[in-house]
């Protein structure tokens, strides 16, 4: 054993150790990169689909996504944008751009009972980013389902926005009355939220995260409203034809009769 206290040994030891660790970590990171990217893509597809369904099986998610989801990219004025893949857009970056440059992804889920519009969302919670997807029925006002996720909200408090208990409340609620955005995530739990289509219970102790969710939904509503107006007026024929061609927009009364 050489003198482990000599300067040259110490330097050599540090150098060799750093090299070994660096090579090991670089190899692991590069080797695992494709698998990680796959996992991230799958997770994104799952989140998109989770706004309307609750699939967990990997193959089923990939199959359903490929068969039933149509990706659309629009701009703030509601016109379709060609040449960009909706799945590759990073919403966070798009919201930082000016209104004219912004391109917004939209996912249309072609269910047997009609189209569902899945709107991606991005906003700020208490500590860090929050994001999610909200699925709208054909009237583009009634919420079919919602899924949220977060980067660093407090476990047990703000992080509860990812639970089915919180997300389930959004089903059947309405975004707006006329053109006025009205949906509110309340502070804490209230008795009358079940009967009020414009209100959702918040999470006790996570009011700021709740407000963040609320602001995020409103931001999406204002960003996509031009497109929604065009769809409602029948002007947006820019979506590629789905398996079954839908003609016109159903009245809200017809919507209500549709089961899940």
């Amino acid at each position: 054993m050489p003198n482990t206290n000599s300067n040259s040994y110490t330097f050599a030891y540090a150098g060799v150790l750093t090299l070994i660790v660096a090579i090991a970590l670089a190899a692991a990171a590069t080797g695992l990169k494709p698998i990680q990217q796959q996992a991230i893509d799958l997770d994104k597809k799952r989140s998109i689909l989770n706004a309307v369904t609750s699939l967990t099986d990997k193959q089923q998610i990939l199959k359903d996504y490929a068969e039933k989801v149509t990706e659309v990219v629009i701009d703030q004025q509601g016109n379709a944008v060609e040449g960009v893949k909706a799945f590759d857009l990073v919403l966070k970056k798009e919201y930082k751009k000016s209104d004219a440059e912004r391109r917004l992804p939209l996912y249309i889920y072609n269910a047997p009972e009609g189209k569902k519009y899945i709107v991606p969302m991005h906003g700020a919670g208490l500590w860090d980013e929050i994001w999610g997807y909200i699925a709208l029925d054909q009237d583009l006002n009634t919420i079919k389902g919602a899924s949220f996720d977060h980067k660093g909200e407090t476990p047990g408090l703000g992080a509860e926005i990812t639970t089915p208990k919180f997300q389930g409340q959004f089903e059947g609620k309405k975004l707006a009355e006329g053109d006025q955005f009205k949906l509110t995530v309340l502070k804490g739990i209230h008795a009358d939220t079940k009967s009020n289509v414009y209100a959702v219970d918040g999470i006790s102790g996570a009011t700021i995260t709740g407000n963040g969710v609320n602001a995020m939904i409103e931001k999406s509503f204002t960003s996509y409203s031009n497109y929604f107006q065009k769809v409602k007026s029948g002007a947006a024929n820019n979506t590629p034809p789905p398996p079954q061609q839908e003609n016109g927009i159903k009245t809200p009364e017809e919507q209500k009769t549709e089961g899940k």
Partner: protein
């Protein structure tokens, strides 16, 4: 000193015979009780306050720490005689950090949703005092196998306290366990409310203090008279 014992054939013989000799078993059982890293060694308190709001992250954190303490102990014990004394802390830190980064990468590839949930916590394992504490106190002076067991034992001892804290905090703070509602709605209707203090880190401080108190009053040998 340790080099001398390593070359002694008698001891090697004994080691080969008994992987789980009473002495080695004690390395695992001791940290669970009389040498618990949290309540006796008072190490790793910061993460014990941070991740015990709910049971699930507490369990996963416990598993993560156990893996990291076990394998960092093992690696350091293997190379302990080659480490230059002046940079031994840095060497330990590099090994621990590399292991944690590796665990994080693997989690991200294999169980992406779990790793998403744990993102911050996994990185925090590096700063867990138990890992460095065990390296300094045990792995630097013992053979690889006992060191490995010591790492597992301390990880489990840490995990046990974490789970106890998390069960109490989730039950009284949110009325649930691992996400399932335990306290029935009827009880809430009668006027019961969740204890808001329990979801804050401060409650873990009180709970740990109570656990220490109970443990020491049951076993007076643990009382520090100095």
């Amino acid at each position: 000193m340790s080099q001398a014992t390593e070359t002694s054939p008698v001891i090697q013989e004994q080691n080969k015979e008994a992987w789980f000799s009473p002495k080695n078993r004690k390395l695992i059982s001791d940290p669970l009780t009389d040498n618990n890293p949290i309540t006796i060694q008072i190490l790793g308190l910061c993460s014990a306050l941070a991740v015990t709001t709910q049971v699930k992250p507490a369990i996963i954190m416990a598993i993560g720490v156990t893996i990291v303490t076990a394998f960092s102990n093992l690696i350091i014990a293997i190379i302990r005689n080659t480490i230059p004394t002046r940079i031994r802390m840095i060497v330990q830190l590099v090994i621990v950090a590399a292991l944690v980064a590796l665990v994080d990468q693997v989690l991200r590839a294999v169980v992406y949703d779990v790793s998403k949930q744990l993102s911050v916590f996994v990185g925090l394992i590096i700063t867990n005092c138990i890992v460095m504490g065990r390296l300094e106190a045990f792995a630097m002076g013992n053979k690889p196998w006992p060191s490995f067991l010591d790492g597992i034992g301390n990880g489990l001892g840490y995990g046990a306290i974490l789970v106890i804290l998390a069960v109490l905090r989730e039950l009284f703070g949110s009325g649930t366990l691992i996400g399932y509602q335990i306290v029935p709605q009827a009880v809430y209707d009668m006027g019961y409310v969740n204890n808001g203090v329990m979801v804050t880190p401060a409650s873990a401080m009180f709970l740990i203090a109570i656990i220490i108190w109970i443990q020491r009053s049951r076993n007076p040998k643990l009382v520090d008279i100095s």
